[in-house]
């Protein structure tokens, strides 16, 4: 539900996978098929000579050494930065505001309601239920519109449709309080606490 760049993830993981797969297959072929070795010497040797030539032609005017090394350093730093940026993209999209609208009334100004309102009210409403092991409420921004994600962890054996209906009626009550229908996702999941905790026997 968050704004993880899924297509980008697929493309980049796929590129890395294909590259590693090709390298691995090449190594195996090099070790087993002699003809591949001949071709490899010719092809890779040509590329190496091209680079050595390039290093020859890019010497510093004053001292020994090629400035191409510095260029390679810079490229590697850029790649490192891009990878950090990619990691930073994962799982973002949390928002702190549930409602942010202009007040149509007499007083000038905006009305904004933080996601803490929804979180506190829902948690309080579900707090003393014996059939739940945990509740988490978070607000995410989907296409510029805030939406709520309610994660409920029932104990073993609780009927999910009954639970969903009850949480959903709480959400409707919340709608009435806030005065706006935000998109809501109810995720009934299982975690360590519901899995290893005692089963719900009496309801």
């Amino acid at each position: 539900m968050n704004n993880t760049p899924r297509v980008l993830n697929r493309i980049l993981i796929g590129l890395l996978g294909i590259t590693l797969l090709a390298i691995g297959v090449l190594l195996v072929l090099l070790a087993t098929v002699p003809a591949v070795g001949v071709w490899w010497h010719e092809w890779a040797g040509g590329i190496l000579n091209f680079w050595l030539d390039l290093f020859e032609r890019t010497q510093f005017p004053s001292r020994q050494g090629s400035w191409l090394w510095l260029v390679i350093c810079f490229v590697l730093v850029v790649v490192l930065g891009l990878m950090v940026a990619w990691i930073a993209q994962q799982g973002k999209g949390r928002t702190s505001l549930l409602v942010a609208e202009e007040d149509p009334g007499d007083a000038p100004g905006n009305v904004s309601i933080g996601h803490g309102v929804a979180e506190q009210t829902l948690r309080a409403a579900l707090a003393d239920r014996p059939d739940l092991a945990g509740v988490t409420v978070a607000a995410y921004e989907i296409k510029g519109e805030p939406s709520l994600r309610i994660r409920v962890e029932p104990r073993q054996g609780v009927a999910p449709h009954a639970l969903a209906a009850e949480v959903s009626s709480l959400v409707e009550a919340l709608d009435a309080v806030i005065g706006k229908r935000t998109p809501v996702l109810i995720h009934i999941g299982s975690g360590a606490r519901s899995r290893f905790g005692r089963a719900e026997r009496v309801r």
Binding site: A31, S190, A199
Partner: protein, 219 residues
């Protein structure tokens, strides 16, 4: 549906009337809901992405170190980049063939892992439930636990004698009856089916029952 999201909240008490979209399809209620449901039932590959990025970063960091050392004219830490390139070009020589095959196989396996992660649909073990207000996603484990409880009550056995496996299109209920106590599989299956009908998960799985021939003694 997009309209009632935008109109709600403008009127003081009117939103209660249009807060009920009637017999709306699964996961209705807002513009981005389809997108949210799609994203909730499919893996985001965030963990694999972080692993991949970390791998690339490790390789790049080492290459950066050796390149920087070379650029400043210092002696190399492990291997000089140019020597490394020459060794790679001369490859079948300079390393045992068995080691080369094993290295290649390991790298290819890692590549295959990433590639399959990128290409496969990556469905999560979750089902959708109908609801008039919110989109509801349920882990298959929770469905299995609820069905197991229902089957246990119908079969009148203990918790350990029932196992339910829920997959996308199938529910398999395995019961080990108590020794000497007859068990009617049809009744248990009926109970499970009724519970499934009440729940109404999407996609709707088909229930089957498997009663083991060996009973449990003293349960």
């Amino acid at each position: 549906m997009s309209q009632d999201t935008q109109n709600a909240g403008v009127g003081s008490g009117a939103h209660d009337a249009d807060a009920v979209p009637g017999s709306a399809p699964l996961g209705s209620g807002a513009v981005g809901m389809d997108r949210i449901l799609k994203r909730e039932t499919h893996s985001s590959r965030a963990v694999v992405s972080v692993i991949a990025a970390a791998l690339v970063m490790a390789v790049c960091a080492y290459a950066l170190l050796e390149t920087a050392v070379r650029a400043t004219g210092q002696p190399p830490w492990l291997v000089d980049p140019q020597t490394a390139a020459e060794r790679v070009v001369a490859l079948p020589a300079g390393i045992g063939p068995l080691l080369l095959v094993v290295t290649g196989a390991v790298i290819a396996m890692v590549g295959l892992f990433f590639f399959l992660n990128a290409v496969l649909p990556g469905r999560r073990a979750r089902h959708l439930l109908p609801d008039r207000r919110a989109a509801v996603v349920v882990d298959d484990e929770v469905i299995a636990a609820a069905l197991a409880r229902r089957a246990r009550l119908a079969a009148n056995v203990t918790q350990e004698q029932v196992m339910v496996v829920v997959s996308r299109n199938r529910v398999l209920v395995s019961v080990r009856p108590t020794s000497g106590v007859p068990l009617r599989p049809d009744a248990v299956l009926d109970a499970v089916r009724r519970e499934l009908q009440d729940m109404g998960p999407w996609p709707m799985p088909e229930a089957r029952i498997q009663v083991s021939t060996a009973g449990v003694v003293g349960a």
